[in-house]
Amino acid sequence: MSPELTVLACVALPLLAPALITALHRWPNPREAITLLTSAGLFLLVTSLTGGVLNGARPAIDLAEPLPGLKIGFEVEPLGMLFALLASFLWMVTSVYSIGYMRSHHERRQTSYYSYFAVALGSVMGIAFAGNLFTLFIFYELLTLSTYPLVTHAGNDAAREGGRMYLGYLLGTSVVLLLLALVWTWSLTGTLDFRAGGILEGVVTPATASILLVLFIFGIGKAAVMPFHLWLPAAMVAPTPVSALLHAVAVVKAGVFTILKVAIYIFGIDFLATVPATQWLMYVAAATILLAALVALRQDNLKLRLAWSTISHLSYVVLGVLLATPLGIVGGGMHIVMHAFAKITLFFCAGAIIVATHKTQISEMDGLGRRMPVTMAAFFIASLSIIGLPPLGGFWSKWYLALGTLDAQQQVMLGVLLVGSLLNIAYLLPIPMRAFFGREPEDPGNAGIKEAPLACVAALVLTATACVVLFFFPGPIYRLLQLLIQ
């Protein structure tokens, strides 16, 4: 298959899978087989593109032209390649986990769950491979809409409230701010293509560029930069696999990925550095890092604490972008990957705990490490990666981000990164500490607790291992990102 067709297949495969999933709704095993096969097939397709992209190939294909000059089309470039690899790999793992989680939880409407999940991944592929900002926007909105049924899967009042926040924030920011930025860019430059070096330089005044940058950064609500971050905790009403893949990886990373794309291909890194708003937006990102970490400290609900931690970590990437130096971009791109593996592990653990014990509050988890040693060990490893300690993958992204701050001569930001790491320690490490060293409360209900089903445990062991592996082999990721900044 030619690379162009492969690109198309990467987007189409998950979008078409729901037809089969729905057709097989009476037979759960074949139905889940479709999900597993699709995700594995997708990963293989994405992998087959990687070699070419590393060697400089940029397979592109145009599908339609809704308006003269505005195309729906795909083009694979290194950053999109990285994101697609990440999302398709983790979808595979999450699918295994989902089966364990959803079945042992006896969730209703599993057919629609797997269907919408596939559509969401198709949208992520569309975002990753989008050939221009217009296409990216389309799939960005499709991702919001296809994840809404997943967030509200429970169908109760809490889900409705959470869904309302989710849709309100994400559609609100994208429709008002992002779309305005798009149309404005379009009317200024006459194009929305992604071009190396950007399309705005020389066309707009610094003041206009500042306004546009503000519209982009806040308009991309999926990046959860304060004050548009509250949808993320609200989305925690979703089943845990949804929180894991979508709200630690796919959806939120689609947000920061979009910011990276805009910075590199719409503004251009050099031009971005000269835009006045970059300076104070950096402080907004820094404030988000610190404030969200402080809020995370105070959460007793494990999923909520992780959600706030995600908000904080998304702004690491945003900060890396706004440093507007090659090292900052590498650090930001690196952090997308490293944080994804670590955070998905943490969510998998949280889900495993819910499946095994029905416990959601951290204060109830004292002594749990002795009953669920594998889960809590994985939690510990992933926590270390989030904090950014060697020998874990998270070290590399913090390393490059720190170098980026120095390169940009933003010593204050270096301080923010360090304080942020300290706060990470403060809100993450107590959880495994309590689990391993805390005294288990006297409760007969605790006696029967054992590890979650194998599918769940296997998935979280795999991702925790990946955190370690990524420390020793960050090379391929670095090479892809290196292509961006040449």
Partner: protein, 494 residues
């Protein structure tokens, strides 16, 4: 021969077919007859659009009486677009009407419905094809009078007062238009619109012409329900039979907009309308008020039909906003939205008609958990709603894109923000319905509700399909609208 007389046949065929429906006593025969006629009208419309796009503006002298003495039928690209909208909606609603009308109307009124439907179609098409100001008034009244009857056929007794309210308002509007045309005739001595426009500059600087302009503007604004002259609309849409609401919402107000365009740009000319009379500023202000107020009011409605009616007032605001810019970009954005909104609203009202058929109500409180019983209808409602909000890959997005970029080109960035923010208001009122239908626990009576019949679902989904198609490939409609706008503004096509 037949092809040469197409402009006249386009109007004449539904006109002479209409009375036959009254003579056919059997409702089924009347339905079959009017369905055939409405499809024939669509076929002619497509031919006509093709001819206009190939040959340019068509001028046709009725009875071969030369203009400006005889009545001229004149169709340019803007008119062709309108004919296409009206004929398409007319043809799509007709197959749907059978079950819906059977359910909502007394059997003895069915013939009357089909007669008035065809008459209304005649009037709307006539307004568009004619190049004669008085003839335009006559056709406008044919469409209005028949729509008063159509609305009064609604199943609830309040349909009568709604129709009466519309009748009073509409007649005031018609009278104003007639006074305006009379004054123009007095000053120029002609009724042919092109002829008027050529003679007008000599007398433009008189009070009479200014008064004529004011009368026409206000009169037409009532017909097209421009805020704050919209008060007849919510009741009329709410209490009319479902098929009638869908048909009228998609066509009647749009034709009003078309008349406004004709008078502003063709008859009075852009210079007089926008530079001397400053109608652009007034329209812009009213459009903004319409968008904001009507969207906000829509949020608080518990009757979904009434909610969509207020939404229509807001959407008319978008169309007028585009026109008020008086630029090629703005007018074509307005015309694109005119077309797209017809697709969107017709689909939504038809979906509501399906709900009314099975549920006997379109109150929010009766729709709890409806999505489980009528998945296809509700899915269509959601899809239409997304298009109304203007999400990508739908027709509504195309409109919004054009409108925002037209507004930005002229430097009105606060208007751009307003347009985008108001689409969030649409999100709120659409999502209220979605939440009730998908999340609320259904009542005891709900599980008896069945999905709507295919004869009604297919038209709904046809329109939804058209929405998605325009969202993916809008180049055709955009090109037609651009040519139409240029024809109106008197500019050569770029």
């Amino acid at each position: 021969m037949l092809l040469a007389n197409l402009p006249a046949l386009q109007v004449a065929i539904p006109l002479v077919s209409a009375p036959l429906c009254l003579l056919l006593r059997n409702p089924r025969h009347a339905w079959v007859w009017s369905t055939i006629v409405s499809w024939l009208v669509l076929a002619m419309a497509i031919l006509l659009v093709q001819r206009v796009s190939v040959d340019g503006t068509i001028s046709y002298a009725i009875g071969a009486w030369a203009t400006p003495w005889g009545i001229e039928y004149r169709i340019d690209m803007a008119g062709a677009l309108m004919i296409l909208v009206i004929a398409t909606i007319g043809a799509v609603v007709m197959p749907y009407a059978w079950r819906s009308i059977q359910h909502e109307l007394h059997k003895k009124n069915a013939g009357l419905f089909y007669t008035c439907y065809l008459l209304c179609l005649t009037g709307l098409l006539g307004v568009v094809v004619t190049g004669d100001a008085f003839n335009l008034f006559v056709f406008l009244e044919i469409s209005s009078l028949s729509s008063y009857v159509l609305i009064s056929l609604g199943s609830s007794r309040r349909a009568l007062t709604a129709a009466y309210q519309y009748l009073v308002m509409g007649t005031i509007g018609a009278t104003f238009i007639l006074i305006g045309i009379g004054l123009l005739y007095m000053m120029t001595g002609t009724l042919n619109m092109l002829d008027i426009s050529q003679r007008l500059p000599e007398v433009a600087d008189t009070r009479t012409i200014r008064v004529a302009f004011a009368f026409v503007t206000v009169g037409v604004s009532i017909k097209l329900a421009l805020f704050p002259l919209h008060i007849w609309l919510p009741n009329a849409y709410t209490f009319a039979p479902s098929a009638v609401t869908a048909f009228i919402a998609a066509t009647a107000t749009k034709v009003g907009v078309y008349v406004l365009l004709r008078f502003f740009f063709t008859v009075f000319g852009i210079h007089f309308s926008f530079n001397s009379m400053h109608v652009g500023e007034i329209l812009m202000l009213l459009a903004v008020a319409a968008i904001l107020v009507a969207s906000l009011v829509a949020i608080f409605q518990n009757n979904v039909k009434r909610m969509l009616a207020y939404s229509s007032v807001a959407q008319i605001g978008y169309i007028i906003l585009g026109i008020s810019l008086a630029t090629s970009d703005g007018v074509s954005a307005g015309m694109i939205h005119l077309f797209n909104h017809a697709l969107i609203k017709c689909a939504l009202f038809l979906a509501l008609g399906c709900i009314f058929l099975r549920l006997g109500s379109v109150e929010l409180k009766d729709m709890h958990g409806l999505a489980r019983q009528m998945p296809w209808t509700m899915a269509a409602f959601v899809a239409g709603g997304l298009s109304l909000i203007g999400l990508p890959l739908t027709a509504g997005f195309i409109s919004k894109w054009y409108l925002v970029s037209a507004v930005l080109t002229d430097g009105y960035w606060p208007l751009a923000v307003l347009i985008l923010v108001s689409s969030l208001l649409a999100l709120i009122y659409i999502w209220r319905v979605v939440e009730v239908a998908y999340f609320n626990v259904p009542g005891a009576a709900m599980h008896k509700v069945k999905e709507a019949p295919a004869s009604m679902l297919i038209p709904v989904w046809l329109l939804i399909g058209a929405n998605l198609y325009v969202g993916i490939n809008a180049s055709l409609i955009a090109a037609i609208a651009r040519q139409g706008a240029n024809a109106l503004l008197g500019q050569a096509a770029p």
